[in-house]
């Protein structure tokens, strides 16, 4: 294996890990609330803007410009996006469960799609279409092996992703709240009967999605910069991943994310660079046609 292919594999894995952060939030929200959050890409965008606002000195608080170190800005940006996610759940998505409503699925899709346009064009009107550059997490390019160099920011993003994915998996499989989440995903009514507050589970899921999307947005902000529609392509990759991994399956999402990252970077070597973004959609349509329950998902069962 020559270095070029090796570099592409490394790149694919790095992208896969970051895609996994985006897809994990989507899949948790889907498994708990049965809602595909079409505004997830704008959560990602908000993460980038939050990092920029906190670290670049463009925003002043009591006439002191905010110039926090990026490493401090990252958790703050994550928390900010998580709070936004909770507000969205409280203000817009809660009626899906609590009110008697015509076709709640349609309501949720149109509402989150509207929210996505709202945030995107809100950013365009207030901040403008300019690309913003927040500070770097790990400056310069790092020597890996042989002739292979990688940008420090990408390595930092991948490393942090591994940590956050591990933390999320521990939270879901290792704590009582996580078990309550899984129970809610399996059977909402049943978990209400055994005393789980499912509304609180909705909030937890949205907050978790906000944390992860905010982290992804902030981590990639120094690499891809921040602009209003920065979240559009990543979120569509996220959709592909949750369908490929099986809607609602958490290990499936991580697994599928790495597969997609590899398919993209190897596909652009062996097939066509221009079609890099098309592969994801072909995978999406193929999976929906031939294996609608995804790689690790369960087949739909009616209760």
């Amino acid at each position: 294996m020559d270095y070029y292919i090796f570099a592409q594999v490394i790149n694919g894995v790095i992208f896969g890990l970051i895609y996994a952060l985006i897809a994990l939030g989507l899949t948790v929200v889907f498994s708990i609330m049965r809602v595909v959050n079409f505004s997830h890409g704008e959560f990602y965008m908000l993460g980038g803007y939050a990092l920029y606002a906190l670290t670049a000195g463009a925003v002043t608080l009591f006439s002191i410009p905010l110039v926090l170190p990026t490493i401090v800005g990252l958790p703050l940006a994550m928390v900010a996006v998580a709070i936004f996610g909770i507000l969205v759940e409280r203000g817009l998505l809660r009626p899906v469960y609590t009110a008697r409503m015509d076709r709640p699925e349609e309501y949720a899709i149109i509402l989150t799609f509207g929210l996505s346009l709202f945030l995107q064009y809100g950013a365009l009107v207030t901040v403008g279409p300019y690309e913003m550059t927040p500070g770097s997490f790990w400056e310069g390019s790092k020597h890996i092996i042989g002739d292979l160099y990688l940008a420090g920011d990408r390595l930092f993003a991948a490393g942090t992703s591994v940590f956050l994915i591990g933390a999320t998996l521990f939270f879901i499989y290792g704590t009582w709240t996580g078990r309550a989440l899984m129970a809610t995903a399996q059977n909402r009514v049943g978990s209400t009967i055994v005393g789980i507050n499912t509304v609180r589970m909705n909030i937890t899921a949205m907050a978790l999605a906000g944390l992860l999307a905010g982290a992804a947005g902030a981590l990639l902000a120094p690499v891809f910069l921040v602009y209003p529609d920065v979240g559009q392509i990543p979120v569509i990759k996220g959709f592909v991943i949750i369908v490929l991994g099986g809607m609602g399956s958490i290990p499936g999402a991580v697994f599928a994310a790495v597969i997609l990252g590899l398919v993209e970077s190897l596909g652009s070597v062996y097939l066509s660079v221009a079609y890099r973004d098309v592969f994801a959609f072909l995978v999406l349509i193929g999976v929906l046609l031939f294996r609608p329950h995804g790689l690790l998902g369960q087949k739909a069962r009616r209760v």
Binding site: L92, E106, I109, F113, L115, F118, Q232, V240, V278
Partner: protein, 356 residues
Amino acid sequence: MTRFEKTTCVLALAGGLAIPLLLYDQPYLIRVAASVLYFIILSSSWNLLLGYAGQLSFAHAAFAAIGAYTSGLLSAGFLGDNFCTSLVENGLGVVSDLFCGENYSRDFSYGVHPGISIFVGGAVAAGIGWCLGRMCLRTRGPYLALMTLGFSETVRLILQIEHEYTRGSLGLRIPYLWITDDGLPNHAVGYLIMLALTVVTIVVLYYLVNSEKGLFFKAIREDEDVAAVMGVDLVKWKVNAFVISSGFAGLAGAIYAHLFVQVLAPQMLLLLEMGLILAMTIVGGLGTLTGPIIGAILLVVLWEFMRDISPYAHMLLFATLVIIVMKFFRAGIFGLIARRLKAKNLISKAPPFTVE
């Protein structure tokens, strides 16, 4: 139809016909009026899918673009001079006159006449709609939305990447459908052609949704499984909804492109366009024929007033309107009016949406 409804229809049609007479010396406003008609066709046909058959598709703007690009490529000489000369050499001069045009204009000498290619565009869009409808048969709810979103983005990327044929983001220049002797388009005539297509769309949709077929669509929307048990052929009617709506979208896209757009770019497939169609239908009133018409007129007028503020402000307003309407009155503007009109027995049917 009650007398009130008939009067409203006649008045609306008269108003539509009066616009080119009133605005004869203001081509910009005629263009705006034509864009209203374009959006009326798109949102009405999208409404057939979502409001009547309950299929949430994000690919509608893609179908308009497929129609426009098919027609544009054919009329801009995609077939190439080799094809046309080989027709003449093989004694098929009649066919080449039809498809290759007799010097329709200097730039597009080897293209199909737009008068023919627009129907090809509509047919290709309907055919692709048939394929997508077949592919989406087993997918429901969010899966259908994701699948159509993926399809739409794929079409956009392909149009952008294959720039050898489509000229990508540079834009594909296409001939006018109708030019006067001085070589310029006549916007008033273009507007009337759009108006005719709008009337045809609305009339077809009216007879469709008020017939037995309309009941099939509504049954599928309410509950697919129950509809199937009651003997509705799910495969047939879901696919039919896709074919009809994408056919109209393709035709509208092609005709509008040849009359008013002139340069096609993949930007017409951005989610923004889909957002416009969605906003017009939702704000006007989902599941009614009048709703999308009101929505399209209102939103385009608002858009024109907001051009001075910021090039993006209109979309921010429309997204806000979508959220407010979905949250507080899902029946849309027409739903609010219709309840009052129904109480006075002015209209025959209340809108279908039961709100909370």
